[in-house]
């Protein structure tokens, strides 16, 4: 046996011994798919706060936007102590009896008062709490390049009519009016943003049992029409474009504006720009209701990590964790009472609006299965890429998307 192998085996044995010794301790193995620079910095913010309290953080990060690695381990009876998931993943695991509750932590931390109602509902089942929402992301931002707006003498549009008037002027000036990342999920964000602004009641209606009425409503058709009109203002390179490329087009002034979730800030920051100075963020042009999505951690049943799980869940929602985590992640605190004066101008703007409960719209990931969500984005992307399709085509496709999924 070579020296290397011996050393590696020794190390492995040591590791196993130390995990065994720690088992009674406050160690938790945490599954995420956060591996990029900003994401791991954010994860470190949790880990540091957790370890400062005596916890031991064991990283289990798998790249790729899927929960499959965690699910297969949980089902196989080899669960980790905490896993990043979405609330709709929670249902089946809960029904199979695979999740541990964190009721005590939630009561002590007054989570019910501090979280938006829909978020609280998303983490509770039959009166017990099963998830720790770590952040909120608003997916309704219209980002624009201030220099382009100033040069053409444009102000922030206050309605979609004003928006289209501005877009025409920008087009005449030879700048790409609207940067679009033509991938289904990005187009879906754009569509839902218009829907949430123009017809928030329809947006909420889609989430209920009577979704058919919502799809066939005038509001929906109006939104489909506005969304379809925007097809005339992108550039021919938009199909398949990555979101960060589209953000960069706005940052460099190649394009005037775009719609994306608040993670777009990361790209502006990387380009050395500040909100309110080089670029602007607005919730309008019409309506300022905010669609909130976000990530949460669930805690599979595993007795050996139980003490650690409770400590970790409590740590996650403390302001001292929420602020550094969300600064690094580019998102907002999930607890709406958190002091955000240290955070950027856009976050402060959104948090002020969110103090009104009527402005908090649950993101689809809290209320809809991934199956139906994907069917919706397919319908939206198909409608966008077929320039000849009118609003009725989207109504039909949306009905099909809903009836084929559950």
């Amino acid at each position: 046996m070579s020296m290397m192998k011996k050393a590696a085996l020794g190390g492995l044995a040591g590791l196993m011994l130390s995990t065994a010794a720690m088992a009674q301790d406050l160690s938790v193995e945490v599954y995420t798919n956060w591996v990029s620079g900003g994401e791991s910095a954010a994860l470190n913010a949790i880990a540091q706060a957790f370890e400062a309290k005596g916890g031991k953080w064991i990283d289990f990060a798998v790249p790729g936007d899927t929960v499959a690695p965690a699910i297969s381990r949980i089902v196989a009876g080899d669960p980790m102590g905490a896993a990043k998931m979405q609330s709709t993943d929670l249902d089946e695991l809960y029904k199979a009896g695979l999740l541990a509750d964190i009721d005590q932590v939630a009561t002590d931390g007054k989570w019910q008062e501090r979280l938006p109602d829909f978020m609280w509902n998303a983490i509770t089942r039959d009166g017990h709490v099963y998830g720790a929402p770590i952040n909120s992301q608003s997916e309704v931002w219209l980002w624009y390049n201030k220099a382009v707006f100033e040069k053409l003498g444009l102000a922030e549009p206050q309605s979609y009519d004003e928006l289209f008037a501005s877009l025409d002027k920008i087009k005449e000036a030879g700048v790409i009016p609207f940067a679009v990342g033509g991938q289904d999920w990005q187009l879906n964000i754009l569509f839902l943003k218009i829907l949430a602004g123009v017809a928030p009641d329809v947006y909420l209606g889609l989430q209920g049992a009577d979704y058919e009425a919502a799809i066939n409503s005038d509001g929906f058709k109006q939104v489909a029409e506005i969304f379809g009109r925007l097809r005339g203002y992108d550039d021919e390179g938009s199909p398949g474009r990555q979101w960060n490329v589209a953000v960069n087009m706005v940052a460099t002034g190649q394009a005037a504006m775009m719609v994306m979730g608040d993670w777009a800030k990361g790209e502006f920051t990387a380009a050395g720009q500040t909100a309110g100075k080089e670029y602007g963020c607005m919730l309008g042009p019409q309506g300022d209701s905010i669609i909130l999505t976000g990530d949460m951690f669930i805690f599979p049943k595993i007795e050996t990590q139980r003490p650690g799980q409770l400590l970790l869940a409590a740590t996650m929602l403390e302001p001292a964790t929420q602020v550094p985590f969300n600064i690094a992640k580019g998102s907002m605190p999930s607890t709406l009472d958190t002091d955000v004066t240290q955070m950027d101008a856009c976050t402060q703007k959104a948090m002020a609006v969110l103090q009104d409960p009527a402005k908090r719209l649950p993101g689809l990931s809290y209320v809809m299965t991934p199956d139906r969500r994907a069917a919706i984005s397919d319908a939206v992307a198909k409608y966008w890429s077929d320039e000849a399709a009118g609003p009725d085509a989207l109504v039909a496709a949306m009905q099909e998307a809903f009836s084929s999924t559950n």
């Binding site: 289904d184 398949g240 991934p370 496709a397």
Partner: protein, 288 residues
């Protein structure tokens, strides 16, 4: 040593393989088949729903588009690779100089992964960045080369990239066939005064039929499981215009948490593969 003892090492060597084939592949297949008849979503369950998953599958827009795409891709890709590969093989067969170098160059693309091929061709096809932008910069401002960004043409862009990647492999297999042709055939056709190009078109293909069938089967396997190229170049877009069956399975499995749909689609793909692999060989056997 008795004959039985002589076979012992072989038996020992093969046992783990046989075990894994039976347990991993066999069990996996049966489990997939069973799951496709259940209502499984995120977690597998045993709630039998008959053919409901297959009904939804065949009613689904995405699956229909995917099937048309893979058929179109398959025919054009295999046809293109065989035709172009045969042409290159014939060209190399003329006893040209530097044949080894040319053969290596033509085969080089086959050593790339589809991900690399996909990225390169995505850049070339990008209208604001690739060939179109370059030609326009040279002064031909009305030049259009935007296949990849239009719904109707995106699938042909994929075919183009696929052919570029896999032609070399078809060429090598058929070149091996050409080298196996008896010199007497050439002498005979020369005496009869038949021009070489007619021999290449009418006589040789029938003689190297096994090579063509081999290349066709290998290429058809590439075509039916095509996934990486699509994900890298279009992600299934614009809209859903370049969806393919393998992507449908992967999306259902990993994005949409719908095991029942994923396994139903995978089962149909398996049936198609069995047919596709079996058919050429069956035809070949009958021809003999």
């Amino acid at each position: 040593m008795t004959p039985r003892l002589r076979k012992l090492p072989a038996v020992i060597a093969m046992t783990p393989t046989i075990f894994f084939v039976v347990v991993v592949i066999g069990f996996g297949l049966l489990w997939t088949l069973w799951t496709s008849f259940t209502s499984s979503k995120l977690l597998p369950n045993n709630d039998f729903v008959g053919l409901a998953q297959y009904a939804r599958l065949f009613a689904s827009d995405n699956w229909q588009v995917a099937c048309v795409n893979v058929a179109l891709f398959g025919v054009l890709f295999i046809g293109g690779c065989l035709a172009l590969g045969y042409a290159l093989a014939v060209a190399l067969d003329q006893g040209i100089r530097f044949e080894d170098a040319f053969r290596t160059i033509f085969l080089m693309s086959a050593s790339l992964s589809f991900v690399v091929t996909g990225i390169v061709w995505q850049w070339l096809f990008d209208p604001t960045f690739g060939i179109q932008a370059a030609v326009r910069d040279w002064g031909w401002t009305s030049f259009r080369f935007d296949w990849l960004t239009r719904e109707e043409t995106a699938i042909f862009a994929l075919v183009g990239a696929g052919i570029w990647q896999a032609t070399g492999m078809g060429m090598v297999i058929m070149l091996a066939g050409l080298r196996g042709i008896d010199q007497d055939i050439w002498n005979a056709t020369r005496i009869d005064g038949i021009p070489a190009w007619r021999v290449y078109i009418h006589v040789i293909p029938a003689m190297i039929r096994p090579m063509i069938a081999t290349a066709a089967v290998l290429l058809s396997l590439t075509a039916i499981k095509i996934y990486d190229l699509v994900v890298v170049m279009t992600g299934g877009g614009p809209g859903i215009s370049t969806e393919v069956p393998a992507k449908y399975v992967m999306d259902m499995l990993f994005q949409r948490n719908n095991l029942g749909q994923a396994t139903a689609a995978a089962t149909i793909m398996l049936l198609a593969i069995c047919l596709l692999v079996g058919l050429p060989w069956a035809l070949l056997r009958r021809a003999k």
